[in-house]
C-alpha cells in the first residue's frame, strides 16, 4: 500500500530539494509542506533535533536528516540500488557533496553565529559581511573549483552523462541541487558563472533540468 509521505522544510531549496527531486523523478506522491521562517521558532522545539527537513511516513513520528530521506526516496524509486558496489559509487558522490557543503558551511555560519568560529559575538552586520566576503573569496579560488573538478572528473570517467549509471540516481539529484545553488546566486561572492567552465557539468545540468518531472517541478 502507498504510504502517505510528508516532507517538511522551509520554502527554499536548501537541504530538502534533493529529496523533493528524488520523489518527483521517481513519480512518488508526497506532501511538499513548506514552513514560513516566522513559524520556525515555535516549531523548532517540537522537532526531534531542532532541525528541518523532517519526513513523516503515514503520520508516524517524523524522521530528520536529509541524507537519510534521500536514500529512502532512492530505495522507493530504483535510484539507489541494493547492489553494494553500485550503492557505494552513489554514496561516494553524495559523500563528496557533503564535504562540499561542509566547506561552504562556515561562510554561512559567520553571518548567524560568528562566535562559533572564534569571532566576537557582537560583530556588526558589516563586519560579518566583510568576513564572509573574505571566506567566499577563498572558496572561489580553492575549494569550489576543487569540488567541481572532482564532479567533472566523475562524469568524464562514467561517460554516460550521469554520475553513477546510464540513468539518474540520487547522486544526480544531489549534485544538481549544488549546481543550482551556485547558478542561482544564493552564495554571495560566488560568481553564478563558476559552473560554466566545466563542460560535462554544464551539459549534465541541462540534461537534468530537461527531464519532464524536473521541468514540471520548476515550472510551478
Amino acid at each position: 500500500t502507498m504510504k502517505a509521505i510528508k516532507l517538511t522544510y522551509f520554502n527554499i531549496e536548501g537541504a530538502a530539494e534533493k529529496v523533493r527531486l528524488a520523489f518527483k523523478l521517481g513519480g512518488i506522491r508526497f506532501e511538499d509542506h513548506r514552513v514560513q521562517l516566522s513559524a520556525w521558532p515555535e516549531l523548532k522545539p517540537k522537532t526531534p533535533f531542532g532541525q528541518l527537513p523532517l519526513l513523516s511516513l503515514d503520520g508516524k513520528p517524523p524522521v530528520a536528516q536529509s541524507g537519510a530521506m534521500l536514500r529512502y526516496a532512492g530505495r522507493l524509486t530504483n535510484m539507489y540500488p541494493t547492489d553494494a558496489d553500485k550503492a557505494m559509487e552513489i554514496d561516494e558522490v553524495i559523500g563528496l557533496n557533503d564535504d562540499f557543503a561542509r566547506a561552504l558551511g562556515p561562510s554561512m555560519m559567520i553571518m548567524r553565529s560568528p562566535e562559533i568560529l572564534g569571532h566576537p559575538k557582537n560583530l556588526s552586520e558589516d563586519e560579518r559581511k566583510a568576513l564572509q566576503a573574505k571566506m567566499r573569496a577563498l572558496l572561489v579560488s580553492d575549494d569550489i573549483p576543487r569540488f567541481l573538478g572532482y564532479f567533472e572528473g566523475k562524469l568524464s570517467k562514467k561517460g554516460t552523462g550521469f554520475f553513477c549509471d546510464s540513468k539518474p540516481t540520487i547522486a544526480d539529484c544531489d549534485v544538481l541541487v549544488r549546481l543550482r545553488q551556485i547558478k542561482n546566486g544564493v552564495l554571495d561572492g560566488v560568481p553564478t558563472t563558476m559552473v560554466d567552465q566545466y563542460p560535462l557539468l554544464t551539459s549534465f545540468y541541462q540534461r537534468m533540468m530537461a527531464l519532464p518531472a524536473i521541468q514540471a517541478h520548476y515550472a510551478k
Partner: protein, 216 residues
C-alpha cells in the same frame, strides 16, 4: 579488502568495527602522518579513509565505505524504513563531526574561518581552546542528548532495532574519541552523565568480536 587510514580512530573506526563485528577479514592499513603528504596527491580526492576491494581502484568517503561493509555483513538493513532509521543516526553523527571540525582545522587553516592566514601559533591555540570550550558547554551535550534520547526511544540498548547495526558502530567510535582525550578541551568524562549511552558503550565493548579487537 584493504582499508587505509591514519593510525587513529577518526572517520575510519566505524568501518573497522563493522568489519570486525561482521566477521570479515580485512587489511587494516594505517599510515603515519609523516607519510601522508606524499600519499595524499596519489589519492582520488586527497583524503582518507580509502577502501580497495580486490586490488581495484580505491573508493573514498567513510559514509560510503561503512554502508558498503554494512551491506556485506548484514549490519545495514535493506528494508527502506529500517535503513531510514540507521541513516538518521549516521546523519546525526556526521552533523556531530561537522560541529567539531572547525576546532580541529582552525589551527591548520584559520583563514577558512575568517581569521588571518598568518595567525601566530599561540593565537591559533587560543582560538582552538575557545572553540573547544564552546563545544564542551553546548554542542557536544546537545548531540549526546540526541543520542541518549534515541536509545530511550528504541529501548533495546541499540540505536536501531534489537541488535547492532552500522549506526551503533558509528556512535561507539564517536564515544571512544570523546573518551580518549584526543580533542583537547573536551573532558573525557563528558558522556558519563548519560546512563543509556554509558550502558551502550559497555554493551558494545562486551561483544566478543569487539572485545577481541580492543583487548587482545
Amino acid at each position: 579488502y584493504k582499508l587505509t587510514y591514519f593510525n587513529f580512530d577518526g572517520q575510519a573506526e566505524k568501518i573497522r568495527l563493522t568489519f570486525k563485528l561482521g566477521g570479515i577479514e580485512f587489511e587494516d592499513e594505517r599510515i603515519e602522518l609523516s607519510a601522508w603528504p606524499e600519499l595524499k596527491s596519489k589519492t582520488p580526492y586527497g583524503q582518507m579513509p580509502l577502501l580497495s576491494v580486490d586490488g581495484k581502484a580505491p573508493v573514498a568517503q567513510s559514509t560510503a565505505i561503512v554502508r558498503y561493509v554494512g551491506r556485506l555483513t548484514n549490519l545495514y538493513p535493506s528494508d527502506p524504513e529500517k535503513a531510514l532509521e540507521v541513516d538518521e543516526v549516521l546523519g546525526l553523527d556526521e552533523d556531530f563531526v561537522r560541529a567539531i571540525v572547525p576546532s580541529n582545522m582552525i589551527v591548520k587553516t584559520p583563514q577558512s574561518y575568517g581569521h588571518p592566514a598568518d595567525l601566530p601559533e599561540e593565537d591559533r591555540k587560543t582560538l582552538q581552546a575557545k572553540l573547544r570550550a564552546g563545544l564542551a558547554a553546548d554542542e557536544i551535550p546537545r548531540f549526546l542528548g540526541f543520542f541518549e534520547a534515541k536509545l530511550a526511544q528504541t529501548g533495546t540498548g541499540y540505536f536501531c532495532g534489537d541488535k547492532p547495526t552500522i549506526a551503533d558502530c558509528a556512535i561507539l567510535a564517536r564515544l571512544r574519541t570523546l573518551k580518549s582525550g584526543r580533542w583537547e578541551g573536551i573532558p573525557t568524562t563528558i558522556a558519563d552523565s548519560k546512563p543509556l549511552l554509558s550502558a551502550f558503550y559497555e554493551r558494545m565493548l562486551a561483544i566478543p568480536a569487539i572485545k577481541a579487537y580492543y583487548f587482545k
